[in-house]
């Protein structure tokens, strides 16, 4: 069952088409990976879906409802959450308060929101740090906090923007495990990632974006062998050389 659908999404910044007629479908329960070279328009796509940008053209449907043009907070309340590529913590608040704020979107009561937040902190491994200021956290914990905040809003779909990037090997494995577990709890995931081991092991399907357009989609093995994809990352010369050698 399709839970999130983008149709012909386009975003122009002046003369630049950051996202160009992009369409895709996200099926409930899957993990859809999004890859592409830097500047391909992946984060712009997330901003379009979550209401931070207004599309120049195209629509977004979430659970059958047209959410194009809604504000981010309205979209969050409908069950679509996101993380930010550059973590956006509430710097001068404690880790617990950070996550509580996420919980408050569905839970009005202080006591219950606290309970929910503590539970989530437990699962992402930040319980010990709950009374520390968010600004004091190192990058690994900051990424976990970013994830925890989004999870606290009890989303049905979560958009993860490079949550593994910048982590060391052990932290990355931990994060990948978290993502598996989130999926097991029934949350659908849309995942932007550069770290290949993460995206290949997590995604059931992958979309490749280049210059704002979708240039390939399919299961991970297919995509990694796709010439257009290789060209996008390594440049046309690589394919030409390879073919000449062959």
């Amino acid at each position: 069952m399709v839970i999130l659908e983008a149709q012909g999404l386009t975003k122009n910044f002046g003369g630049l088409k950051a996202v160009n007629d992009l369409s895709f479908e996200l099926t409930g329960g899957e993990i859809l990976g999004i890859i592409g070279p830097n500047g391909a328009g992946k984060t712009t796509l997330f901003n379009l879906i979550t209401g931070f940008y207004h599309p120049s053209a195209g629509t977004v449907f979430f659970k059958g409802e047209n959410i194009t043009g809604l504000r981010p907070y309205q979209i969050c309340k409908r069950g679509l959450a996101r993380t930010f590529q550059i973590t956006q913590p509430f710097a001068n608040l404690t880790v617990l308060e950070n996550v509580k704020i996420g919980a408050y979107s569905q839970i009005p009561s202080n006591r219950e929101a606290t309970r929910e937040a503590l539970q989530i902190l437990e699962t992402v491994g930040l319980y010990e740090k709950r009374n520390e200021l968010a600004s004091a956290l190192p990058i690994g914990h900051r990424k976990n906090l970013e994830l925890a905040k989004a999870l606290a809003t009890r989303p049905e779909v979560i958009l993860l923007d490079e949550v593994v990037a910048g982590l060391n090997s052990k932290e990355a494995d931990g994060m990948i495990a978290h993502i598996h577990r989130i999926r097991e709890e029934g949350i659908t995931i849309l995942l932007i990632e550069h770290v290949m081991k993460a995206i290949m092991s997590l995604s059931s399907r992958i979309i490749v974006i280049h210059y704002g357009r979708k240039i390939a989609q399919g299961i991970p093995e297919e995509v990694s062998k796709n010439t257009k994809v290789i060209e996008a990352y390594l440049g046309e010369e690589y394919t030409l050389v390879k073919n000449r050698r062959a």
Partner: protein
């Protein structure tokens, strides 16, 4: 999160201090009563500012706009229509609230943040002041005076200072408690989230515009009611002290120095500033406004060395100590 022992301690201390302040008027004379009433007064105004500035992070440099509107509304209603000053205080608060919603919706709708918002509020207060100057020049060249009625709780006037002391004490205690309540609930967390990071707040389901307006409405309403108290205390108002930048600045200095975004910050700040200003007034015997020189110096020192204010700095120190132990 405070454990039960800490909570009981806090309640006990509050009760002791509260009783002390309630009994105090028996033992001190008019001068000190005035001084402490002024501390309560600026703590009240500072707390009102703090809700919008310290908690929601929208620093206004023009809160005198609400203060003056409250003072003028209740006073004019009283003089021209015989409206009871207590009712006038409430009505003045409503007018302030509406003004706040007006300027707030425009400012927040057009994305005014940080210094631009601060300056826009300053411009608003100045515009109101100029209008008042022009309007009063003909009708009330020496300010508006409230007719004397002797000692009357009904008419919010007293010949002695003691009743004013108690009224301001109650008002201050009420808003301090209100701040505490807001801080403990979702609203307070939402304000702080907006202060810290509006985009992150938006992504977590917070209607930033709505909550900024709520903070503004509460802040404006309370500040305006403070204007009525001032009018009834001095029984005369004029445009400079009501709408002037001095008032806007004195309102925000307390929370900044005491600790913006804390419950007691405005009270601590107001106490320090009032005591200092009385001290300089007596020592330097200069022209009015000289105490502002000391305020300026303190502000400079605090911003450089204690940017989170006194209580904010203490919180940070405790945090570091707790970590080290």
């Amino acid at each position: 999160m405070s454990n039960p022992v800490q909570r009981v301690m806090k309640i006990l201390v509050t009760i002791v201090v509260g009783v002390f302040l309630l009994v105090l008027p028996r033992f001190i004379g008019g001068y000190f009563l005035h001084l402490i009433t002024m501390i309560f007064f600026f703590a009240y105004l500072g707390t009102a500012w703090n809700i919008l500035g310290g908690y929601a992070g929208q620093f206004s440099f023009g809160h005198a706009a609400f203060f003056g509107i409250g003072a003028f509304t209740s006073t004019l209603l009283q003089i021209h229509l015989g409206v009871n000053p207590w009712i006038g205080m409430f009505l003045g608060g409503i007018v302030g609230l509406l003004l706040g919603l007006f300027i707030g919706s425009l400012s927040f709708r057009y994305g005014l943040r940080g210094p631009y918002f601060a300056l826009a509020m300053l411009a608003l207060a100045e515009m109101l002041r100029l209008l008042a100057v022009e309007w009063m020049a003909v009708k009330y060249p020496l300010g508006i005076t409230i007719p004397l009625r002797g000692d009357s709780l009904l008419y919010f006037q007293f010949t002695k200072k003691v009743p004013y002391y108690y009224i301001m004490f109650i008002m201050m205690a009420a808003v301090l408690y209100l701040t505490r309540v807001i801080e403990e609930r979702r609203m307070g967390s939402y304000f702080k989230a907006i202060r810290e990071n509006e985009n992150a707040a938006d992504a977590l389901g917070i209607n930033v515009f709505k909550y900024k307006l709520i903070a503004m409405a509460i802040s404006a309403f309370l500040t305006a009611t403070g204007g009525t108290f001032y009018a009834q205390y001095y029984l005369t108002i004029e445009e400079e002290s009501s709408f002037g930048t001095s008032m806007s600045i004195e309102v925000l200095l307390g929370p900044i120095i005491g600790g913006a975004g804390t419950v007691l910050g405005p009270l601590v700040g107001a106490a320090i500033l009032e005591i200092l200003s009385e001290g300089t007034r007596n020592l330097l015997k200069g022209y009015s406004g000289v105490h502002l020189m000391v305020y300026g110096a303190i502000l400079i020192v605090v911003i450089i060395f204690l940017p989170k204010g006194i209580l904010g700095g203490l919180q940070a120190t405790f945090r570091r100590l707790a970590k080290a132990l």
